[in-house]
Each structure stands twice: as structure tokens, then as C-alpha cells.
């Protein structure tokens, strides 16, 4: 499970840093059909493409989501940025208890098929830590770096 999630997140990060070409007019039928099937109520969709992936940015329930598809129409993952108050309560209380001295620099929900979770990056003057939660209850250390 951890490997799947780590792969998805690292993949997403790499995708974010990859140059995308505007692909609104060039989404192939498989990808377009897969997107329509997965996100029935999506609005305001814009597409971008790399050599291997399509990226759709769209609105769903007033949120902005980013979904990644392979050229074969396989959904690689979905990412949604969050506010800390939008986390499940157990994760919020854990942050207050254990990381009160840190500030949040990044927080997102990721999902792929039947796997989902949260990643948060926290910083203080000395270090940057990334935590992940796969169960909506507890945080696990994912990455820790000194500044």
C-alpha cells in the first residue's frame, strides 16, 4: 500500500514539475471517455499534456481538482489542495497536539482508484517535514529534511 501511495505522490510531484503543453483540442477519445466516466459532474475542464500523461484541471463541488490520465485512459490519480480545517478531525487534533510549533506550507488530498489519503508539509526554523495519512486518523512521517 505504501509503495502504491508513494509512487502516486512522487509521480504527481514529478508531473507538477514537468512542462505541459495545452491540449484542450487534442485529448484522445479514450482519455475523454475515461474522464467523463470518472467525473460526471466536472465543470470548467482544461487539459494539458506531457509526453506520457494528460492532466485535467477542473471544478467539482466548487473545488479545483487535478486528475492525471495515461494515454490509454487509465486514471493515474487525483489531487485536491486543502485547508487544514478541511482535514478529518482526528488529523486536525493530531496537528494541534504534536506540531503546534510548525507552520503548514503544503497540504493536499490524493486519490487513486480505491486508495486515498493526505500529505502535509510542515516547517519550523530548522527543518521541513512531510507527513502522510492513509487512514484519515493518524499521521506518519514521510520525509524529513534539515534547512
Amino acid at each position: 500500500m505504501k509503495k502504491i501511495i508513494a509512487g502516486l505522490v512522487l509521480g504527481s510531484m514529478l508531473l507538477v514539475n514537468t512542462a505541459f503543453a495545452n491540449a484542450n483540442d487534442n485529448v484522445n477519445e479514450k482519455v475523454a471517455a475515461a474522464f467523463k466516466h470518472e467525473f460526471v459532474q466536472a465543470k470548467e475542464v482544461s487539459w494539458q499534456k506531457t509526453d506520457n500523461y494528460f492532466r485535467a484541471v477542473f471544478k467539482l463541488n466548487d473545488d479545483i481538482l487535478t486528475a492525471y490520465f495515461s494515454e490509454e485512459g487509465d486514471l493515474m490519480g487525483v489531487v485536491r489542495n486543502l485547508l487544514s480545517t478541511e482535514l478529518p478531525i482526528n488529523l486536525q487534533t493530531s496537528l494541534k497536539r504534536e506540531y503546534a510549533a510548525y507552520w503548514i506550507t503544503d497540504l493536499f488530498e490524493f486519490a487513486k482508484k480505491d486508495v486515498s489519503g493526505y500529505f502535509i508539509t510542515l516547517e519550523n526554523a530548522d527543518q521541513r517535514i512531510t507527513l502522510q495519512s492513509n487512514d484519515g486518523r493518524t499521521w506518519n512521517s514521510y520525509l524529513r529534511t534539515k534547512k
Binding site: 460526471v40 463541488n61 487525483v78 486536525q92 486519490a111 480505491d114 489519503g117
Partner: protein, 142 residues
């Protein structure tokens, strides 16, 4: 305590006959150390206390046994706060329904979401998980 008790607890809770014990209050303080303003009620299950309070500007209910065991929390959330997979499954399977309410139920061992929807025929309470599983938990007649 059943899940239904926790979910419906806020609707059926009554003022507690007596103040919760020091043990219960200590258990609350351990979970929510920054909260000072708490309203205690008796949940709709014997020996269970419901603490009503505001956390991060949201109304929250937390449940404790007389022995101080923390059972979990419930909060009313908007449908947009459902996890992506759960929201997407809901949109696909229940597109024609009106969404009445969505509750997040965080227990010590898991998190679940209870969504009440209705149409002309009646209502349903659905149970969703963060991984997008969505099942009918309860049916209501019109």
C-alpha cells in the same frame, strides 16, 4: 455504542443528570487540550457523555464513556468536504437525489461519512469511506 447513536446523538442528546466525572473531563482535555468552553450532555446510549464545543470555528461533538474512553467525534460538513473518491461515487450513483446532510464520524479506529439523501420516494442514509466505498446504511419512508 452503535454508530447510529453517535450520528444521531446531537439530535437526541439530553442534558446530563450530573456533571461528568473527573476521569471523563481529563479524557476530554487529553484529546482537546485547547478547548475550555464545553457543554456536556447525555448521549442516547447509557453511560455515554457527549461534549459539544467549537473547534477551529466548527461545531463538534465528542463522545466518551463513563470510564473516560474516547469513542470519537461527529461534525456536520458540506458535501464539498467529502473525500474526493466518496464525493465522486456519490455524484455518480445519486445524481438525482437531494443531499440533506453530511456527517463526518471520526472514531479511534476509522473515519466514515454518513450522507442523508432524499427524492420523491423517500430518503436514504448512506455510509461512505475515504476510499470511495458507498453503501446504504438506512432507508427512510416518505
Amino acid at each position: 455504542m452503535t454508530l447510529a447513536v453517535a450520528i444521531l446523538g446531537s439530535a437526541f442528546a439530553t442534558p446530563a443528570d450530573k456533571e461528568p466525572s473527573v476521569i471523563v473531563k481529563a479524557a476530554f482535555a487529553k484529546e482537546f487540550s485547547t478547548i475550555k468552553d464545553v457543554k456536556w450532555e447525555a448521549a442516547d446510549a447509557e453511560g455515554v457523555y457527549q461534549a459539544q464545543f467549537t473547534f477551529n470555528n466548527e461545531s463538534l461533538q465528542a463522545y466518551f464513556t463513563e470510564e473516560g474512553e474516547f469513542l470519537g467525534t461527529t461534525r456536520l460538513i458540506s458535501v464539498s468536504r467529502l473525500p474526493v473518491l466518496a464525493a465522486n461515487t456519490l455524484a455518480r450513483k445519486y445524481a438525482g437525489y437531494h443531499i440533506v446532510s453530511v456527517y463526518e464520524h471520526s472514531m479511534t479506529e476509522s473515519v466514515a461519512y454518513y450522507i442523508t439523501v432524499s427524492d420523491a420516494k423517500g430518503g436514504l442514509m448512506l455510509k461512505a469511506t475515504g476510499n470511495g466505498e458507498l453503501t446504504v446504511y438506512k432507508r427512510f419512508k416518505q
